[in-house]
Amino acid sequence: MEHTKKKTAFDRRKFLKGAAAAGAAVLGTTVAGRFIGGTGEVSACIRPPGALMEEEFLSACIRCGRCGDACPNQCIQPFTEETSAIHAMKPGRGQRNTPVIFPRQQACMLCGAVDSEYLLCTDACPTGALQKTKKEVEAIQDQVKMGLAVVDKQLCYSFNGASCGICVRACPFEGKALRAGMWEKPLVDPEYCVGCGLCERACVRYPQAIHVTPRGVFGEV
């Protein structure tokens, strides 16, 4: 009888200890999970081609880095404090380690330098966060909208009496997305611009006179 009693007491103690440990672990890791994912407002950033809209993208992406491995141009980086600080950005809630492109550092070449059927990052994505996109003009025009190039007329040389036109030469859809106006003034056509950022990468002005605005900033695309 006494033996049984003792055993019960031990079991209850064990149970309470276990429950406390389990509760602490559950609470700790879920809080840590939320905290690790990043805090604060979601920052507008440039996603790789074929990405879902930001909210759905953050749900679908598992932060595996396969798109970054696939990129033949090293332009896809994980969005961390370390990589984004020099661009005056910070990963917001749930954004840490998601793939991001900083066009000033390295812009998306739409896999122009390699031989492939699909845009490689969209082919590598295991979750559909980047939707598979054929490497053809129509498919890219249809499915890719990373952002929109915007020209700062105060800074641009061509708008200030010196014709430059470097960004127009860099554009993969030259003549459509980015046309050279009089004295090589860059004229962006929002309908054709996919936001690859090659114009921003090529711009010789510092700070850049043409830059890609993330699509979140100008609303639905």
């Binding site: 559950v26 879920t30 994912g37 749900s59 598992i62 595996c64 033949p72 979750t127």
Partner: protein, 342 residues
């Protein structure tokens, strides 16, 4: 038969180390592809001769050129085929969290389920990437934990450290927790993932952290090489490595294999998927001398003598190798002696 089953542990350790090396080589292969795509590879091989990054590139270059289609003849000389090596470089992505080789995609079920639940939509590519892991787990149980997981390799090292400590007469504590913790964690995590629509478990899941940190470390080594430095740097790691370090320290000092036994939500998910696995550890009762060596050997703290090998066992075979009497073996259920004891 005995010889083979003892070789299994060697094979298992070799697989774990191979997975680790493969994981670390993926970012290097990615950078190799970058340099080949930029027509810069010969310059890099020349400039970085003897450094870590240069050696890695040389090895990768040599391997890919030897593979079929890696070289073409030009003016009587075999040279690198840019298309050929690029095709190989583009054949391998990711790490233990999500991996693709030669077009075959595999994702950790935890990540895939989180993605599905957070997005509330089953994408075709996710379903495809789940096939191989789920089939393997249905057949063999939690074998990801014992054969592939790089954290598992790291934590088996903590077992060795603990035995060294014991040799030095320093007794590390071994606090027991509840095994149910990992299922609670999995349930709460998946629920929160569904509510917040962000896959949160993947942030604190060691194979995913090791996947990302490994990439960061190797990419950083190449970034260093590009700026004229050489070797690896701790600067390539982020503070998330501290989570791994904390787990290792906790396991060495407080509780043996704490993470795998009690906490890991991914291990919990693999356990649930592999609940009805046909390949199990079975006891031949007539041969058993009840020496309990297998109980000590089991990394997950199970008792192979007592038929507790239900959901938790990861089929690592440590108990089978530890048995001096050949009383344990892998068996299909119909070959198992019917042992229902209280």
């Amino acid at each position: 038969m005995k010889f083979e089953i003892h070789k299994l542990q060697v094979l298992r350790r070799a697989t774990q180390i191979g997975v680790l090396l493969l994981m670390l080589s993926v970012p290097a292969i990615s950078r190799y592809g970058n340099y080949v795509a930029a027509y810069d590879i010969d310059g890099r091989l020349e400039d970085w001769k003897g450094t870590l990054a240069g050696t890695a590139l040389t090895v990768i270059d040599g391997t890919f050129r030897k593979l079929p289609g890696g070289e073409v003849e030009r003016v009587g000389e075999m040279v690198r085929s840019r298309e050929g090596v690029l095709r190989y470089a583009q054949g391998i992505y990711g790490g233990p969290w999500s991996f693709e080789i030669a077009g075959v995609s595999m994702s950790d079920p935890l990540g895939a389920f989180e993605s599905i639940l957070a997005r509330k939509h089953v994408a075709y590519v996710v379903a495809i990437s789940l096939i191989i892991p789920i089939v393997l787990t249905l057949l063999f149980g939690r074998v990801f934990c014992s054969w592939i997981c790089p954290m598992g390799l790291l934590l088996e090292l903590t077992d060795k450290i603990r035995s060294i400590l014991r040799f030095l007469e320093i007794r590390p504590r071994n606090v027991k927790f509840l095994r149910g913790t990992k299922y609670a964690l999995l349930a709460v995590g998946l629920l929160l993932t569904t509510i917040t629509a962000v896959p949160i478990l993947g942030y604190a899941y060691p194979p995913a952290i090791i996947n990302r940190e490994g990439h960061d470390l190797i990419f950083n080594a190449f970034d260093r090489a590009e700026t004229g430095l050489s070797g690896l740097s701790i600067a390539g790691l982020t503070w998330m490595s501290l989570i791994l370090l904390a787990i290792v320290v906790f396991e060495v000092l407080v509780s043996r294999r704490w993470w795998c036994r009690y906490v890991c939500p991914g291990g919990g998910l693999y356990s649930i998927i592999g609940v009805a696995r046909p390949i199990r550890v079975a006891l031949v009762e007539s041969k058993c001398t009840h020496c309990s060596d297998c109980v000590v050997a089991c990394p997950l703290g199970l008792n192979p003598k007592n038929d507790q090998m239900g959901i938790e066992c990861d089929n690592c075979g440590a108990c089978i190798s530890s048995c001096h009497d050949d009383a344990l073996k892998y068996a299909l259920p119909q070959w198992q002696a019917c042992r229902k004891r209280k």
